[in-house]
């Protein structure tokens, strides 16, 4: 098992927590004196750096929300002199203003180190050719993988998004062994390859998919792994953290959150307090080394659970499970919380339908209705209408079992639902509330 930084990655939990405390303490002390934003926030919450006497005292510190970034657009949260900034990234800003994030040289280095540890833990190295099919530009995904892949000595193919046929030609011609993309784009690429007469499994050297940017299920992972003959590695990050930062190791059993870089808490969404160990909740991250745009108790908005058992790979840092959904992705239908990822999970167990789906939520009178549209696979089509009816019922039954609410099911023709190259938008909410 290769490590990028064996000492740090296998550090004992006691040593790690001691290091985390030291980093937290010095970060908070620095921000209290040099960041007007954090100074005001801490004054408001009546907490002083001297109140942080242990790692557990982190709960005394106030939360930071995405809204804070928007309210302080563009650089109100900058915590270093401006001349120390060497890079900006920005989010698309679907609701009003975009959010801008900035980086010092050390920030770029920490980010690269974090993701490079992950790539090494998957077994990637100088012999690999990594195609980065995440967007390059203002979005942090492309450059994040680019720098980390170079750090481990791999050859980078900076393909960015789009022109899927060309992407497949590059994979074939350059002997690409790993590819960074969203899971839905990975599937799309597999479909396009088949139409071109190319089997990703048999005709290419691709062995690893570095997949993230949207929630996806283990079933979808298994399907990708089996169909495309690769290891689908779950990757995690967001531009407010730095960018894509954390990955699963080759065990594919949870995402390692490097404790010297970030401290993770899982919160109960109702109470704001910690959840019981192993329970789902909202991920809250504190970046322990970030300089230009520090994030203290940042409410990422992703729902996951913590795995606090040693990993078979030998790394000692805490892990999180898959991202279950977004706090703000969550649909409330007839008072019940529904995540699109649950629908995906339910459909993955039905071999007759494809992985693309659409959820349509509407309101008839006072009652919410939910419709799931799913593509019937070509090979599953039968002339027997009773069997098709039966399939619909089977899907509805399974959805009901997983979601706890009744959903109507519509079978649609293959390749008719919209495909997404970036984050999939699978919900149409027609309720006028």
């Amino acid at each position: 098992m290769a490590y990028l930084d064996e000492h740090m990655e296998t550090i004992s939990r006691e040593e790690l927590e001691e290091l985390q405390y030291k980093l937290l303490r010095s970060q908070v002390t620095r921000l209290y004196s040099s960041s007007p934003f954090y100074h005001a926030r801490m004054r408001e919450a009546k907490v002083h750096p001297d109140d942080i006497r242990s790692l557990q005292d982190i709960v005394k510190l106030p939360f930071v929300h995405k809204k804070d970034l928007r309210d302080n657009y563009p650089e109100g949260m900058l915590s270093v002199p401006r001349r120390e900034v060497i890079r900006y990234h920005a989010s698309s800003g679907t609701t009003g203003k975009p959010t801008v994030v900035c980086y010092t040289r050390k920030d770029i280095d920490t980010w690269t180190e974090s993701l490079a540890r992950g790539l090494t833990s998957i077994g990637l190295g100088p012999d690999d050719v990594i195609q980065v099919s995440n967007t390059y530009g203002l979005f942090s995904g492309g450059l994040g993988f680019h720098y980390a892949a170079e750090r481990i000595g791999a050859a980078v193919v900076p393909a960015s998004t789009g022109n899927t046929e060309r992407q497949i030609e590059l994979i074939l011609d350059l002997g690409v062994t790993a590819m960074a993309a969203t899971p839905s784009y990975m599937l799309h690429l597999g479909e396009v390859a088949e139409k071109m007469g190319v089997s990703i499994k048999k005709d290419t050297k691709l062995k690893v998919g570095l997949l993230g940017g949207e929630p996806w299920s283990i079933k979808m992972r298994d399907r990708i792994d089996e169909w495309l003959g690769i290891k689908g590695i779950n990757c995690y990050g967001s531009s407010e953290m730095y960018g894509p930062m954390f990955t699963e190791c080759s065990e594919q059993d949870g995402i390692h959150i490097w404790g010297d870089i970030a401290y993770a808490e899982i919160l109960d969404q109702e109470t704001g307090g910690p959840v019981a160990p192993g329970e789902k909740g909202e991920l809250v991250l504190t970046m322990l080394q970030k300089e230009a745009l520090p994030m203290i108790r940042y409410r990422v908005g992703d729902v996951t659970e913590m795995v606090d058992e040693p990993c078979a790979c030998g790394r000692t840092h805490p892990k999180i499970r898959r991202i279950f959904g977004r706090v703000d992705d969550m649909l409330i239908i007839r008072g019940i919380n529904v995540f699109p990822s649950q629908v995906e999970h339910a459909l993955m167990g039905i071999p007759e339908v494809g992985e693309h789906f659409q959820i349509v939520v509407d309101r008839k009178g006072a009652l919410d209705t939910m419709l799931v549209r799913v593509e019937l696979k070509k090979e599953a089509f039968t002339d027997n209408i009773v069997q098709l009816m039966d399939l619909r019922e089977r899907i509805a039954y399974r959805l009901r079992g997983i979601l706890n609410i009744k959903a109507a099911v519509e079978l649609v023709e293959p390749d008719t639902l919209q495909r997404f190259e970036g984050k999939a938008k699978r919900v149409i909410d027609r309720r006028d509330i």
Binding site: K378, F381, D383, L388, M389, L411, V412, E413, P414
Partner: protein, 143 residues
């Protein structure tokens, strides 16, 4: 030995929305394919279109290239006399032999009327009908 009576019917999965049937019919016209008979079975939000055409392979190829979900289903095409009792003579034979008909549709051709039958055991149905002297269309008539 009853292989030659297995007529290739096209079964098409189609969403139930305006213009879908028109698009399929237009494609058949462009390929110069004549549709002898067709039926639409209605599911919930989708339909299964079944069609008997003069050139099934040409039609299949065209529809597949359009991304349409289509498959062949073997059916029997039974000639019957176009007069009262014509249908009865055909189906009575099957009823007596205990053969169930899954679905059926018919057309009245220039020479005679034809009933298309989808049955569970197609060879046994063919055998039963032939023994009774009923005429079946052969696959060579659809090329």
């Amino acid at each position: 030995m009853y292989q030659k009576y297995r007529i290739k019917q096209l079964s098409i999965f189609s969403e139930n929305r305006p213009g879908r049937l028109a698009a399929l019919a237009k494609a058949m016209m462009e390929e110069d394919v004549n549709i002898y008979a067709f039926s639409i079975a209605e599911g919930a939000g989708y339909g299964v279109i079944r069609a008997l055409v003069d050139h099934p392979e040409k039609a299949f190829k065209k529809l597949s290239s359009m991304g349409v979900t289509v498959r062949y289903t073997d059916v029997l095409a039974v000639e019957m006399e176009d007069r009262p009792g014509g249908l009865y003579e055909v189906v009575r034979t099957l009823a007596e032999a205990g053969i169930n008909i899954e679905y059926s549709y018919a057309y009245s051709g220039k020479r005679c009327a034809v009933v298309i039958l989808r049955v569970e055991n197609i060879d046994r149905a063919a055998e039963t009908l032939l023994e009774e002297g009923v005429r079946l269309l052969e696959i060579s008539q659809f090329t």
